[in-house]
């Protein structure tokens, strides 16, 4: 009776611990889902009488401060962004595909958020050149743009032309593209940074590591099943080994996600979250397997 009570108490403690651990996990998801855009005034901008200019200046400041939420808050519902020169998603020639899948027009809030996050990830810095030109709700301006890709190609900063429609303190549409001279400079930059034997070797090594990363957990799962067979006579040991197999399967998925991240065009931040969830699940399966296994081995000598 006392033994059963102790066992029940252990289960309850384990459930409480796991619940406590996973409450923040769930709250993180709710936060990510519910996090609404908020306006953060990053830098004060002199009032020159044109609301539209003020909005654009705030947008540039938000980008420079790497606050995608603040920048997103400046867009109206149904806003459209056209990044005609793929500033956010321009990939090096070494990459198999551009991060945005060649897409350069963003219609939904989620797409615009992805575009802004990609710009931040690329370490964007913008600087207005000359004056803003305002015609009714339209604002056009020139700006210097620097992103990691331009830095890597030694062409930063490049000059871009931007045009925005601003209504009710919100950006309704934004079109941005590099000017002709900068486009040429970029093409020349790529030509100068063609694939080197080192970069080919590095990508080959990366692919090799990824393949090994998929083979190892698959083989580990096979060996666990063999070990499980060896312990078939010991009652209660099947479950822990199965859980360990589940953990190894999660590890396989986590490594598979590394490969998917380099080929699929989903916004990187979401794949990061999925990968973290899978890794945490791996740890969770391992933990439950070990708790059960310890219990089985502790009980076995008494029986």
């Amino acid at each position: 009776m006392r033994k059963r009570l102790r066992s029940a108490l252990r289960y309850v403690t384990l459930i409480i611990i796991l619940t406590l651990l996973f409450v923040p996990l769930i709250s993180a998801f709710t936060q990510v889902a519910e996090q609404g855009p908020r306006i953060v005034k990053i830098r004060g901008h002199g009032r020159v009488g044109q609301d539209a200019i003020s909005v654009i200046a705030d947008f540039d400041s938000a980008l420079n401060a790497h606050h995608p939420d603040a920048a997103l808050a400046l867009f109206s519902d149904g806003a459209v962004v056209s990044d005609l020169s793929n500033i956010a998603c321009l990939s090096g020639t070494n990459l198999p595909s551009p991060p945005c899948g060649g897409q350069n027009v963003f219609h939904t809030t989620m797409q615009i958020r992805g575009w802004l996050e990609q710009l931040v990830k690329e370490g964007i810095q913008v600087k207005e050149i000359g004056n803003y030109r305002v015609t009714a709700a339209n604002v056009t301006w020139d700006l210097e743009v620097t992103v990691d890709e331009y830095r890597r190609l030694d062409v930063a900063p490049l000059v871009a032309n931007a045009m925005a429609v601003v209504q009710d303190w919100k950006i309704k549409s934004l079109t941005i593209s590099l000017d002709q001279e900068s486009t040429k400079k970029l093409v020349l930059g790529y030509a100068a940074h063609q694939r080197t034997p080192y970069s080919i070797l590095a990508s080959g090594v990366g692919f090799g590591i990824l393949v090994l990363g998929l083979v190892f957990p698959a083989a580990a799962a096979y060996y666990i099943s063999r070990v499980k067979d060896l312990f078939a006579t010991v009652p209660g040991l099947k479950k822990p080994w199965t859980l360990l197999q589940a953990g190894v399967a999660s590890l396989f998925i986590a490594i598979l996600l590394v490969g998917i991240r380099s080929t699929v065009r989903a916004p990187p931040s979401y794949l990061d979250i999925i990968q973290y969830v899978v890794i945490v699940l791996t740890g969770f399966f391992f933990l439950v397997a070990m708790v059960l296994m310890k219990r089985v081995w502790l009980v076995a000598p008494n029986d």
Partner: protein
């Protein structure tokens, strides 16, 4: 968003892995009488430590905004090494039990 999932995902993940390490060490001590079994459990422990390190690298790169271009591959290599150590542990464990049976 980064700080939210850093708190919500990585922290419980690290705690779960620390607890796993504790339980593995307890199981290892249960098998202290079988010296050949110490190695597989040690290897499994090493695998879990590497998984911990992989998550920690992700946490560090996110929280301090370090260059993910450098830390990303490090985290991925640690993940592959985790799988390798677990495989090694399981191969060793199977070998130990097979030898025990034939002995």
């Amino acid at each position: 968003m980064i700080s939210a999932y850093l708190y919500g995902l990585v922290t419980p993940g690290l705690l779960v892995l620390v607890l796993t390490l504790f339980y593995i060490s307890r199981i290892r001590s249960l098998f202290a009488a079988v010296p050949r079994l110490e190695r597989p459990w040690l290897l499994f422990e090493a695998g879990v430590i590497l998984l911990f390190a992989s998550l920690l690298v992700a946490a560090i790169s996110d929280s301090f905004g370090l260059n993910s271009g450098l830390l990303g591959p490090v985290g991925n290599v640690l993940l592959v090494l985790t799988a390798f150590f677990i495989l090694w542990a399981m191969v060793t464990m199977k070998r130990v039990w097979t030898i025990s049976e034939s002995d």
